[in-house]
């Protein structure tokens, strides 16, 4: 455990030193939230829009800004870098350290700083748009949102790590990365809430992992789910968590055998 805590501390410090990229991501996200707020405020519609009130939609994109800081566990970039450059041979293959757990602790380190750094920006933006927000909080709601967000982080972590391990076979995974983002934008509810999508496809989306890496905690926050739907949601997310953990094991074992490292 001690050795993984060292990875956590190291990544936390690293993120704290290079705050520039984090700042850029927050500004980019805030800009998107501002644009979408303006879109919803000027859209012509009768009553609810896709099952949401205007205030809920504005809150959706603002909350997404914070959720983005929390839930975006994307180790496939660093995994690809390690495999492509041969660093993985030194950092993991010859050391008694689990690659999976190292990546988890590094992600926790980066996201702990990321959330702390991003929170003031979200609060300032929330203060600015306070008249347009739909706020509702209770300890129970907070618990379920936190549980869904943590589970979502672990699902996206598993998915991303498996994508990263494809680098054992394909050095260039950027086309797959682009496809991942395209699917994520639409199937996770990032571009538009998934209630905008016609009924049949919504049923399919609920079975896929993408919903659980973004939309699910927000649906809980806005009380869009019945108790049964929440339970089914959590169970599906757990299924994907286990599925990606097993897939990771399979890819890791196969990939190591196929891997030919270079470098010094």
């Amino acid at each position: 455990m001690k050795k993984y805590l060292a990875f956590f501390k190291n990544e936390f410090a690293n993120t704290a030193i290079y705050r520039g990229p984090l700042f850029i991501w927050i500004i980019s996200g805030a800009f998107y939230a501002i644009v979408m707020t303006a879109v919803w405020k000027t859209s012509q519609a009768g009553g609810m829009i896709g099952g949401y009130t205007r205030s809920e939609l504005i809150t959706y994109y603002l909350a997404a800004l914070l959720l983005d800081r929390f839930i975006n566990w994307l180790p496939h970039y660093s995994t690809n870098e390690e495999i492509r450059t041969g660093q993985i041979a030194v950092s993991s293959l010859i050391k008694p350290i689990s690659f999976y757990w190292r990546k988890i602790f590094q992600e926790i380190g980066w996201h702990t700083f990321s959330v702390a750094f991003g929170l003031p920006f979200v609060l300032i933006l929330a203060l600015f748009f306070r008249a347009d927000l739909a706020l509702n909080f209770s300890p129970a709601l907070f618990f379920w949102i936190a549980a869904a967000a943590i589970l979502g982080s672990l699902v996206v972590f598993g998915l991303s790590l498996c994508l990263g391990l494809l680098s054992f076979w394909f050095t260039d995974i950027w086309a797959i990365d682009s496809l991942f983002w395209a699917l994520r934008m639409f199937l996770a509810g990032q571009a538009l809430p998934i209630s905008f999508i016609p009924g049949f496809f919504q049923g399919v989306i609920k079975l896929l992992p993408f919903r659980y890496i973004f939309s699910f905690p927000l649906e809980i926050y806005f009380h869009k789910l019945s108790s049964l739907e929440m339970i089914l949601g959590f169970l599906t997310a757990v299924f994907w968590l286990v599925f990606f953990a097993l897939l990771y094991k399979f890819l890791w074992n196969r990939g190591r055998k196929a891997y030919a490292s270079f470098g010094n």
Binding site: S28, A38, V39, T42, A45, A175, S178, F186
Partner: protein, 261 residues
């Protein structure tokens, strides 16, 4: 003439590199088309719930999206690939090699690479624009096409200058590898009419950070809602942004200290 020849040389090298990995080029071409398809589906889904955005009906929002895609691809072919590399070059001390060359540093930093994978979508969307306008009952005159092109190019110069100035931040904050994400978000905003903003926000996005030049003004001119005086305004804004970015870049460059051994 020397610069023109260098420009074509760099373009040829990028083209040759892209054609060397033809399968990769094909995959990226299809992915770009897939993204465009998703953008259109997104607008369709949005208009399944709303009847207009800031007074713009679906058809006009589609027009904006087509022009936006052309603008996006124009930047993706000619501008963003080179600017994306600046951070890497500075971080790894390779920027020295550009400094040593007997050519304008700005020119050399701006023509390092080209996004060949966006060429096919750029061509395809340009053709779609012509047919879409015809379907809307708009047959622009040659003069109107000229005004459109000039406004479009003004927008490209404005955003090139702005992104180039942003790249200068790398001299102070060494590790800004994700500036391209900010570029994407800024350009994304151009998908919607500037009328979504009110008051000071509208002034800001029209004059100071003029995302209105991405698709809004070019669309407005094709729809006959603004006149040729906006082309002059575009040229003035492009000049101001170009000069300001040069001044900012020169200031930032003074802080460069090589990282190589």
């Amino acid at each position: 003439m020397r610069y023109l020849s260098l420009y074509f040389h760099f373009f040829r090298v990028s083209l040759m590199a892209a054609l060397e990995y033809r399968f990769n080029l094909l995959v990226w071409t299809f992915l770009n088309l897939f993204w465009t398809l998703l953008s259109f589906v997104g607008i369709e889904l949005l208009f399944g719930q709303v009847s207009s955005i800031a007074g713009w009906p679906k058809q006009e929002i589609f027009l904006l999206l087509i022009i936006w895609t052309i603008f996006h691809d124009f930047l993706s072919i000619f501008i963003r690939p080179s600017l994306r590399q600046i951070s890497h070059l500075i971080r790894h001390g390779k920027f020295d090699f550009l400094l040593l060359k007997p050519v304008s540093l700005r020119f050399l930093s701006s023509v390092q690479d080209f996004g060949i994978d966006s060429v096919s979508r750029f061509c395809l969307t340009s053709v779609i624009l012509v047919f879409f306008l015809r379907q809307m009952g708009i047959e622009p005159s040659l003069l109107l096409w000229l005004d459109f092109t000039l406004l479009f190019l003004s927008g490209a110069i404005i955003f090139y200058s702005f992104f180039f100035a942003l790249a200068g931040l790398n001299f102070w904050f060494i590790n800004l590898f994700n500036l391209d994400d900010l570029h994407s978000r800024l350009i994304d905003a151009g998908r919607f009419p500037i009328d979504i903003f009110r008051g000071r926000a509208k002034t800001f996005f029209t004059y100071l950070l003029p995302i209105a030049f991405i698709a809004f003004f070019p669309a407005q001119i094709l729809l006959g809602r603004i006149g040729s005086e906006w082309v002059v305004y575009g040229a003035v804004m492009a000049s101001v942004f170009f000069i300001a970015s040069q001044l900012f870049w020169s200031l930032a460059l003074r802080s460069y200290s090589s990282a190589s051994s």
